[in-house]
């Protein structure tokens, strides 16, 4: 019954099923220690599998590889079909990299009364399975279903394990995404109807559907485009549909926050590339100025808002809004360089904001607050934490030599020939990025030790700081576990900054293929 295209399909099947099964097992474990280690072990196995997948993926092979399919609703040609292209593959790998890191990062997370790590980690693994599914499916209907279902574990992660205002944030997150999803469903049905009227046989198979719908008349394409766009613009998010993100990021526990901005939001941009552009190329070209305008507004607006935040987690959310502006600019500028830039930006954004949010989490775990004003002069107390925070900041502001530079520069460089005006406006975001990162660092880490979270750490103005005072007052520097959580991210930040070529090679062909649907030769 299963049809598979290659001998490596089992890798993809395993990648989907192992975290799903792991989630169940972890949920059932009573012993918290066992639950933690099981979850961590499963995420490591998943990572190993993803690395194998990377190895077996042929950069210059077929667009969709490792595919397999099982019929679900034959009447509508709906199949449980999965398969990956270069873009989906790097996203899946990134999920597999982040999962063990966030699990390790929340090892000692203080959970509210009645909440257990087994529940927490079980939801994280479920998230992992569902998000891998979203990126890897090749059936438009299955994509919709997973797009909606993956909201559930995130809803519970925020609503059960989050901060004080978690219920409000969780509901807001859910309503926004769910509403967008319904509009997308409308678009998908529209595409199906068009396919049926055009060929007599409707389908939800991505490959077949794109080849039919991409030739639809413009007015049909526009409606389908708008349906999908609503979902993706909310998910990405683009201004002005972004206000759910700051609340969700602030209230979510750090691990969930990382999965939210690092993985879940990427589905939006991924959707532009996988669905909007190939399904409705004419509409994408016609409406590109609209998206580009929103993108550039997002860059500038998000950056300015980030600078004005008083809470570090909300800060991360607005930084993400700005970064998603860059990504959308790269996608809708329709050049090979900007497209590859956008896809690698998705990966790099996960690494850099993921690292930033994790470091902020480590800080907030010590000071019991994410308010910027509660801190000051910390570099003297916790130099390593300050260093990690600073490096996370550097990759966030896309300093050359870090991973993010490659993608941001590719986006701008690539977008310039086709969209010079939008590019120049977006380039102003580079200055603003330096402003919001360095100003935040200055307020939290430099000057004399001060702030409500640090009461008792300073001997008063001008008093010399003893090196061990932080440790004695429960405000120690990074511990061994924390260093191991951050080390792989640091390696990725520097490694991909100086040697991004393997990543660029993997995503290049898929981007070229996507661009060919809007008549752009990938060069």
């Amino acid at each position: 019954m299963i049809q598979s295209s290659s001998q490596h399909s089992w890798l993809l099947i395993a990648l989907l099923l192992i975290p799903l099964a792991g989630s169940l097992i972890v949920a059932l474990l009573r012993d918290q220690r066992a639950a933690k280690f099981t979850a961590f072990g499963i995420s490591l196995v998943e990572f190993a599998l993803a690395a194998c997948m990377w190895g077996s993926f042929h950069g210059d092979g077929a667009r969709i590889q490792m595919a397999f399919s099982v019929p679900w609703i034959p009447d509508f040609d709906i199949n449980i079909a999965f398969g990956i292209d270069g873009i989906a593959m790097v996203m899946v790998l990134m999920i597999a990299v982040l999962s063990p890191i966030v699990i390790g990062g929340s090892w000692t997370e203080k959970l509210a009364e009645g909440r257990s790590h087994s529940g927490f980690f079980s939801l994280l693994l479920l998230m992992e399975a569902l998000t891998i599914g979203v990126f890897a499916t090749t059936d438009v209907f299955v994509f919709y279903v997973l797009f909606e279902i993956m909201l559930i574990p995130m809803y519970f992660l925020i609503g059960r394990f989050g901060g004080n205002n978690r219920q409000y944030a969780a509901v807001k997150f859910f309503l926004y995404s769910f509403l967008g999803g319904l509009l997308m469903l409308g678009g998908a049905i529209g595409a199906y109807v068009y396919a049926e009227s055009a060929t007599g046989q409707g389908t939800f198979d991505w490959m077949k559907l794109t080849s039919i719908v991409s030739h639809a008349p413009l007015h049909v394409q526009v409606w389908i485009f708008l349906g999908f766009f609503a979902a993706f613009a909310i998910k990405a998010p683009l201004v002005p549909l972004h206000t759910w993100l700051p609340d969700a990021t602030r209230e979510a526990p750090v691990a969930a926050g990382v999965m939210l901005v690092g993985v879940l939001d990427k589905v939006g941009v991924f959707g532009f590339l996988r669905y909007s552009i190939p399904l409705t190329p004419e509409a994408s070209k016609t409406l590109a100025p609209l998206v580009l305008t929103l993108a550039v507004i997002g860059v500038l607006y998000g950056s300015l808002l980030a600078a004005g935040q008083s809470d570090m987690k909300r800060f991360i959310a607005y930084v993400s809004v700005a970064h998603f502006g860059f990504i959308a600019l790269g996608v809708f500028a329709f050049t090979q360089q900007s497209g590859v830039g956008s896809v690698t930006y998705m990966v790099n954004h996960s690494i850099s904001t993921g690292m930033f949010l994790i470091v902020i989490g480590m800080l907030a775990a010590r000071g019991k607050s994410a308010r910027i004003a509660d801190y000051g002069g910390l570099a003297k107390v916790t130099p390593l934490l300050a260093g990690a925070f600073f490096i996370a900041g550097l990759t966030t502001l896309s300093l050359p030599g870090t991973n993010s530079f490659i993608s941001e520069f590719l986006v701008l460089l690539g977008a310039y020939p086709s969209q010079p005006a939008f590019t120049i406006f977006a380039a102003v975001g580079m200055v603003l990025a330096a402003l919001y990162v360095l100003w935040l660092y200055q307020r939290v880490f430099t000057g004399e030790v001060r702030g409500d979270a640090l009461v008792g750490l300073s001997g008063g103005p001008g008093a010399a700081m003893r090196p061990d005072v932080g440790a004695r007052k429960g405000f120690g520097d990074l511990g061994i576990r924390e260093r191991w959580v951050l080390a792989p991210l640091l390696v990725l930040v520097i490694g991909l900054g100086f040697y991004p070529q393997p990543l660029l090679d993997k995503v290049g062909p898929a981007v070229a293929d996507t661009l060919s649907s809007v008549g752009v030769q990938g060069k």
């Binding site: 559930i152 969780a170 769910f178 109807v193 409707g202 004005g308 530079f405 520069f409 200055q442 040697y499």
Partner: protein, 651 residues
Amino acid sequence: MSIAASETVQQASGTMSLAWLLFALPAFGALVLLLGGRRTNSWGHILGVLTVVAAFAVGLVLFFTSLGAPPDQRTLNLHLFDWIDVGSLQVEFGMRLDPLSMVFVLLITGVGALIHIYSIGYMDDDRDRRRFFGYLNLFVFSMLILVLGNSFITLYLGWEGVGLASYLLIGWYSDRRSAATASKKAFLMNRVGDVGLAIAIFLLWANLGSTQYTEVFARAGQLSPGTATAIALLLLLGACGKSGQFPLQAWLPDAMEGPTPVSALIHAATMVTAGVYLVARSNPIFDLTETGRLVVTLIGAFTLLLGCIVGCAYDDIKKVLAYSTVSQIGYMMLGVGLGPFGYALGIIHLLAHGFFKAGLFLGAGSIMHAMNDEVDMRKFGGLWRKLPITFVTFGLGYLALIGFPFLSGYYTKDAIIEAAFGAGGWRGWVFGLAGAIGAALTAFYMTRLMLMTFFGKSRWKELRSADDREFHPHEAKPVMWVPMVLLAIGSLGAGAFFVLGDRVVNYLSPTLGRLSTAESHPIPELLITIGTLVLAAIGVLVAWLIFGRAKDIPAQRPENVSGIVRAARKDLYGNALNEALIARPGIWLDRFLVWLDNKGVDGLVNGTAALFGGSSGRLRRLQTGFVRSYALSMLAGGVILIGALLMVRYA
């Protein structure tokens, strides 16, 4: 005009392929020192020095090897690996070994090594000395990438890399608020320039389809005049940011918050001259646009005067030297702005300036070391007896800077002033006179500095430093004064060595083209030389009349002064302008947007929710039993879907 356009670039082989060590050595040092942590505390500074000294040795070997090759074969390319390769965009991580990059390698590693050695002594009592050396190594690494990279994108990597090192080192004393603010300001103002540089790169890519030097320079002729001018001006914006030129000069004096060896290495000898390097490196582009070159010279001439004027007003010894740097880089910009008439002259002044200004800063560091880190010259006086070595080495740097006959500045600055007069028409007069007046003002403020610091009454005897200690000036340890002596020798002889026989001009010609000389000057060359000397002498004399003859210099600076002095003390209102035009409106805009986002955008959403749900409180209460409503809506969605499908199928 330039022969650089028709250059031949060969692959580096043999000894020259060892050039990768220039990247690897300081990178290794930085990695070990920054990641090694406290374990490396005891020997970290030694490693930091050794990597740079070794890099200098490699630089010398490469330099002499390249001298062995005929001039037209001195431009080599060393491919290290493919860095960014997307479609037709191919960015190598590679090195361009040519005369221009070679002289920079020697300057950076040579002066860098001396300053590293000096820092062993200067930072001796700092708990984090090892980290300091890590940052210095990081700087040297980035700076070498900047000058050795073989494309505009590798240049950009080094460009922002040195900005990072500069940020870290300006903010070294991180518990000082002023240091934190200054470092952020430096990075931000640099980023403004960097955006200019980035857009210039985008333009090159859009018009020429490459960012590699070889291809860009070979095809620069294809650029339309307007595009060439736009690229030149954007490159200049980048140069202004990095080199502290108007209108982005305000960060450089604030950068003096960093430890003094940093000021010497980064904010005097090397990094801040990167803008001059950029213009010289891009000479095939600047050759195409007279407007572009004119703007470079205008910026240079204006900034050199601005730096001089402000330099006259400060009492902080490091700030005077900082404005002197601003002003001297103005001279260099003026030089390279003259195009084929001045590329080489700008670079030569840059090299000579690297020696004497680094020497001056190290001298200032030695004075601060002796004087409880005091920088207010009004508290100095009569120090030559207490600090004889510092006095002599500093004095040589001073004479070199003001253009005392046969010392460095005499040869290198004079050449620029002469070439400026040769620019023809009103330009010759404007630029030439700006340079000449600058020479007089330079002599004035530097003499003032010398007199206030080393001569006159020993005012420090009756004063205390800011932390309420008495002053006990003493000469520094040899590890500090030996580098000062070596740099003083450079101040003494470098100019003559570079200029006489046109050594450097000829050496640089494969990269910068042959140096053109003006056919006629509005006034004879000899007269320009003598006139400049006379003007400088007048500057010295006036300074002596005001500050040398007077019995005493008040320890508090007089407040009742003329408008021009008040303006100069306020940096000619550069900061006030930034504040009024950018900082304040920016803050207001930001506050407004934060308010708008909370009340407007989000308010709209909550308001809409309230409209549907009755009250916004209901949105909050929706969570009770939400799973049920979720399931319900899923179900509803499913029903709609299946209904739609059935309709489509059986309609």
